[in-house]
Amino acid sequence: MNKTVIKSDVTHHYLRPKKKFPNVWCAGCGNGIVMGALIRAIDSLGYDKDEVAVVSGIGCSSRMPVYLDFATLHTTHGRALAFATGVKIAKPHMKVIVITGDGDALAIGGNHFIHACRRNIDITTILIDNKIYGMTGGQFAPTTPGGAIATTAPHGNYEKQFDVVKLAIGAGASYVARGTVYHVDQLEKLIVGGLKKKGFAVIDTFSNCHTYFGRFNREGDAVEMIRWFKKNALPVEAVEKIPPEKRVGKFVTGLIYESDATEFCDEYQMLVDRLAGKGNAQ
């Protein structure tokens, strides 16, 4: 495992020349790590910059596209997947990537999320999952663990959580993976896999919000939180080898589910071809 060499020249090649840095993220935020992994994944696949569209909603993670030198669409809260659906259907040859957060994708955008999964439309979704609303100052999300403190759960969160992986599989996504901002090499590979997959790919990416989640819940700074990912990640290949009692409190990473379901744009094209074969208009 000596492959990960951070090539800053590669990264810079994909950052916007006109866009003034620094970015909007807190020092130590995992969003930059995800952006780096995404850039290297795209670079390794050799995509033409003009063929890539990156679409996002609202939130900290959704600020990512503005820094990237692709066709970028920063949309409204929760709706990135619906906008991306329009882009993809209009230009099926384009690689469409959605950057979204757990609140953006699963709360306000939950309906679009399950329907994008169901259609199995060829969009790669990187869901940056930090268990909290960061941009608005630390409110609980559909992923916030029970008992955790947030500004709108000051006495501890009493709601249940979505399991993003189960939700995506149940709704019909054909590539479902989980990564973390500690396992950068694996994250890059999972993104590559998602981009290569002809279908709806979800990469649930655990990331740190030390500014709010970490601070409120005494989980430490960025480094400490990222160490927690290292300690508790359970590679999917290893799950069966570990006794159940040792799995408690851990989470599974890697490519968790893949299917060969047909993709939405392909289905539409098949309809077009079938109708053309018939020749009859109405």
Binding site: H74, A82, G86, I89, A90, L275
Partner: protein, 379 residues
């Protein structure tokens, strides 16, 4: 399919479909809602035959989002809905204003508020078409009154939308949407079809929201060699979020003036017997049909009355309305609501013109007799 020059018996909703096809629609996203569903059904039937794209989205929020995405990827795009769906779309319609994304929204109006009267007529979305989403912006909304005008105004909606890089709403209504009328599909080339202006500068020079002398920026599409950012955040001409007061002001003024500076191109009226009229009936959509009939009946009784019908509901062409009402002593604003257009006409009418309101809001059409009675009342 669209058959040029063919005479057909069409519903208003079907005429909207054919008008969109005539204008070159390439992408439609929609969600079922009475009384607009026939538009989505027509699109689902025809678009796959002609290389167009159709998708039924999970809700109206998704529908408007998808057409904005598709428009930015280069497609002429449209959705259709009715009151509740139009309300759901408002946030993303605001996104389309802000990002200067052309798209057409057909709102087949029904009674409200809320679920209201799904199968009955109203004209109560007029203000929503102008002020429905939050913030400062300018809006274009058109209002046909027959199947033929459903066709022509849909074509015009696409033209204005592509010409000015802005969403355009077509306000029809339940009766218009479902009533069948004879109309002849115009020949190819008979009506103007506007093509989106593409940039002619190299990609490095391209600014997606450039403040040009005309205020309308040429528009590249995703995947065609130009890379740029689009954001609903208030942005600079390159599309990057800004908090600089001068850039914020320039952006909002662009959104306003790119429409207000072109009223002659955007607004359109029909007038009947206005030359010597002391009284005018001001109405649009289905009500305008009753107005013409009422005016005819009144003229038979030697009442000097005329009718004015705006096809462009928004923007309000203040100067033109003022001049049309010049010398008119009394104007009756007839509409299927409790007063929307009325307040606009009251605002812009000459001081010497008295403005009256005739509203109907019981789910039924305005009748010529009702209007005639009001004419007599105000004389």
């Amino acid at each position: 399919m669209l058959e040029y020059g063919k005479t057909k018996l069409l519903q208003g909703n079907e005429a909207c479909v054919y008008g969109a096809l005539y204008a070159g629609v390439q992408f439609f996203a929609g969600y079922p809602i009475t009384p607009s569903t026939e538009i989505a059904e027509g699109m689902a039937r025809i678009l796959p035959h002609i290389g167009g794209k159709f998708i039924q989205m999970e809700d109206e929020i998704g529908s408007i989002a998808a057409i904005i995405g598709a428009s930015n990827a280069g497609c002429k795009s449209m959705t259709a809905t009715s009151g509740p769906g139009y309300s759901l779309m408002q946030e993303n319609i605001g996104y389309a204003y802000m990002t200067e994304t052309p798209c057409v929204i057909i709102d087949v109006q029904r009674g409200g508020p809320s679920t209201g009267l799904p199968t009955k007529i109203a004209q109560a979305d007029m203000m929503q078409a102008r002020w429905g989403t939050h913030g400062d912006y300018n809006a274009i909304a058109l209002a046909p009154s027959s199947a033929k005008e459903c066709f022509t105004e849909t074509v015009r909606a696409f033209n204005l939308s592509e010409r000015f890089r802005t969403p355009v709403t077509v306000l029809t209504d339940e009766v218009l949407g479902h009533m069948r009328e004879i109309m002849t599909i115009p020949e190819e080339g008979e009506l103007k079809v506007h093509k989106r202006q593409k940039p002619d500068v190299p990609p490095d020079w391209y600014r997606h929201f450039e403040i040009t002398p005309s205020l309308v920026s040429p528009m590249a599409a995703f995947g065609e060699g130009y890379r740029y950012n689009i954001s609903g955040l208030t942005h600079d001409p390159d599309g990057f979020p800004t908090a600089v007061p001068s850039e914020i002001k320039a952006k909002l003024e662009k959104l306003h003036h790119k429409i207000d500076n072109y009223l002659d191109e955007i607004t359109s009226f029909r007038t009947e017997m206005m030359d010597d009229a002391h009284v005018a009936v001001f109405s649009y959509g289905t009500v305008a049909r009753a107005s013409y009939q009422a005016v005819k009946m009144a003229r038979e009784k030697r009442i000097k009355v005329g009718a004015i019908q705006p096809f462009t509901i928004w923007p309000i062409d203040e100067a033109r309305i003022k001049s049309m009402l010049d010398g008119v002593k009394k104007v009756i604003v007839a509409e299927l609501n409790m007063g929307q257009l009325f307040y606009e006409i009251q605002r812009v009418a000459p001081k010497s013109t008295e403005v009256f309101h005739l509203g109907r809001y019981d789910g039924e059409v305005m009748t010529p007799l009702q209007i005639l009675q009001k004419i007599r009342e105000v004389l």
